[in-house]
């Protein structure tokens, strides 16, 4: 049994809604519990507005959660004051989606990568310079970029710099928020390979946020699927991509087009109708019920609890799946 690096329990995050919504609140994250084990990559997938980034920002404490708890290496950081949090910050790092806004345009690459080292004052100037150089090399950049400014680099190169900044302190946990979404296919491949290599050699754990299922399948050991601020299904890669149970997960898997005309044209697709409701007033009961082909009365009234599908931790929140499972158990 490996230890959990990150444990999130019943996380809830509300924002004040925009003016015209009548003082109600945006329920960006409603009830999220997840664990990231030592050395694992957990994928957090879901569509726009499902609350993935908000979960990530709560974990790195850029946001203070409305409710719930976040534990990092056993320590509760949910409401930790920033002075106490500071030393821990060297162990949790984040990579951002936008390669353009995530680097200070007025700093050189070496200053950017050195910043975490300076912030924690753990290294002498000379050590720091050496470490910066090694880290930049490690992310596949040549030494020549050290004195460049971000606007002299391509999107892929910038994302590597962002990765170097996040990894220079050798964190235990990396939150990667859509780090390849803004990149072209040919550049994306390089970053994904790099992430795999670095994770293997450095052994950090990773919460990898993405809306791209094939990226999640390529990279992640386990995958959690989010819909409207909740995790509706979580399981190992094989369970989620090979034996998904939740209607939403199944629809997502069917909706993502395969880059192969033969397969793509021959497969059965059952795509959910409609669009996700607003996070300001989510529907009562199961959040998927207005769009779900399986929904019955219970689904509109009562929110489903977690149902264990397998011993290994394949969990689904769906009344209908639960009923099916109960039936199967009864039969055997």
């Amino acid at each position: 049994m490996t230890a959990a690096v990150l444990e999130v329990e019943n996380l809830r995050m509300e924002f004040r809604a925009p003016r015209n919504a009548g003082g109600r609140r945006v329920q960006a994250v409603r009830d999220v519990s997840l664990e990231v084990q030592e050395g694992e990559i957990l994928g957090l997938v879901g569509e726009t507005g499902s609350g993935k980034t908000t979960v990530g920002k709560c974990v790195v404490r850029l946001l203070r959660p409305t409710a719930g708890s976040i534990r990092f290496m056993g320590e509760d950081i949910t409401a930790m004051p920033s002075s106490q949090l500071r030393p821990l910050r060297s162990r949790i790092q984040m990579v951002f989606q936008d390669p353009y806004s995530s680097l200070d345009p007025r700093m050189t690459v070496s200053q950017i990568v050195a910043e975490p080292l300076r912030a924690h004052g753990t290294h002498s100037r000379r050590e720091a310079a050496g470490l910066v150089r090694r880290t930049v090399e490690r992310v596949g950049l040549s030494q020549q970029v050290l004195d460049r400014y971000p606007n002299e680099l391509s999107g892929g190169q910038r994302q590597r710099v962002g990765l170097a900044r996040a990894l220079v302190l050798e964190p235990r946990l990396l939150i990667a928020d859509e780090p390849v979404s803004a990149l072209d296919v040919s550049v994306r491949a390089g970053i994904l390979n790099l992430l795999v290599d670095l994770q293997r050699t450095m052994g950090f754990s990773c919460l990898f946020i993405t809306h791209d299922l094939s990226v999640a399948e390529f990279l992640c050991d386990r995958v959690a699927v989010m819909y409207l601020g909740e995790i509706v299904e979580v399981g190992t890669r094989d369970e989620v991509f090979g034996a998904a149970r939740h209607p939403y997960t199944r629809s997502l898997l069917g909706a993502a087009p395969l880059a192969d005309p033969v397969e793509q044209r021959s497969r059965q697709r059952a795509i959910l109708p409609g669009e996700p409701p607003s996070a300001i007033d989510p529907p009562p009961g199961c959040s998927l019920n207005p769009r779900c082909p399986l929904a019955d009365r219970r689904c509109t009234e009562e929110a489903p609890g977690p149902t264990q599908v397998s011993e290994g931790g394949h969990v689904v929140r769906c009344h209908r799946v639960q009923e099916q499972l109960d039936l199967e158990v009864a039969r055997s």
């Binding site: 296919v185 094939s214 033969v262």
Partner: protein, 331 residues
């Protein structure tokens, strides 16, 4: 099948702050009646400019040369007045930015009505009925109500549907879709792709589909043209292109793609990386633009610009040293 649109040696030079941009270099294309042709390539390779050039929608200082024949007439030579009659009626386009191509201060109904009035002379009740018919065509529920909505009251997916509905207003023969699903979620994307597939079957129009998403291409296209740095590098029937790409760039793209079933944990699976950067589209030398990044490049690649040449039936490639033919890969 008859050829509906034929583009020959299209060349587009644009001017920006730093000088000339050769955004499109000698691109030839052909779209037959009822055919879906996909134009794919990475960001900045000239896909949108190509489409805009067909309809002469580029800034006035753009230099366009070549021939664009649509139903026997050269669109590049046509007087502007006649071209205007073709735009929107025979050839409709859905632009890349759904947000900026709808006017925020008019309702959807007003905007569709305007097109109907302009090209079909429909007004009042007639126009309203046709407009709501169009919205149902793109599966927008309670269309009468939606006609009264302003663009900002609709979600991204709804706006994209409204755009498509507007493009369909005059039963165009050719529909140009520029990245119709790029800004959308997969579920919404699948819904839109479904609509387009269905429309095409029902209305039999030709579609020029611009996208960078190979999944979308695999889903919809009959034929695929791959662009790189302003040039068309490969052109083939869709199954053929995916099964047996001949240009190293196309092959590289396909292998760089994380796909379902590919897993980093399995047998040291890695994605193929295409090293280097997309070249800047200024003073490109007379050489293969992909050569500096190409694993198959040889000396001669850097001293001549390979033209597009047939390599097999219905398959053309612009490469001096194309990928070997994959045995048994024929669909």
């Amino acid at each position: 099948m008859a050829e509906l649109l034929s583009v020959q040696d299209l060349q587009v030079r644009l001017f920006d702050r730093l000088g000339v941009v050769v955004a499109v270099r000698d691109v030839s294309l052909s779209v037959e009646e009822g055919e879906v042709v996909a134009l794919v390539g990475e960001s900045g390779c000239g896909k949108s400019v190509t489409a805009l050039a067909l309809l002469r929608l580029l800034p006035p200082d753009a230099q366009i040369s070549g021939r664009v024949t649509f139903q026997g007439r050269d669109l590049l030579q046509l007087p502007l007045k006649e071209l205007r009659a073709i735009r929107g009626r025979d050839i409709a386009m859905v632009f890349q930015e759904p947000m900026t191509s709808l006017n925020p201060s008019f309702t959807i109904g007003n905007q569709i009505g305007e097109v109907l009035r302009l090209h079909k002379g429909l007004r009042g009740q007639q126009a309203r009925e046709r407009a709501s018919e169009l919205l149902s065509l793109v599966r927008i529920g309670s269309p009468e109500q939606r006609l009264r909505a302003y663009p900002h009251q609709l979600s991204g997916g709804m706006r994209q549907r409204a755009m498509i509905a507007m493009a369909l207003a005059c039963d165009p023969k050719l529909l140009i879709l520029d990245e119709p699903t790029t800004a959308l979620d997969v579920t919404t994307q699948a819904q839109i792709l479904d609509i387009v597939r269905d429309l095409r079957q029902r209305l039999g129009m030709s579609i020029l589909l611009i996208t960078h998403d190979l999944g979308v291409v695999a889903d919809l296209a009959d034929r695929v043209a791959v662009m790189y740095a302003g040039s068309k590098v490969e052109d083939a029937e869709v199954h053929r292109l995916f099964a047996a790409p001949r240009h190293p760039y196309t092959a590289g793209l396909l292998r760089a793609l994380p796909r379902r079933g590919r897993r980093a944990g399995d047998a040291q699976e890695r994605l193929l990386e295409i090293p280097g950067l997309v070249p800047v589209l200024r003073d490109l030398p007379d050489a293969c633009a992909f050569a500096p990044r190409c694993p198959r490049s040889q000396d001669d690649c850097s001293n001549q610009h390979p033209g597009l040449a047939p390599c097999e039936a219905d398959h053309r490639v612009a490469c001096l040293h194309p990928e070997p033919i994959v045995a048994g890969a024929h669909p």
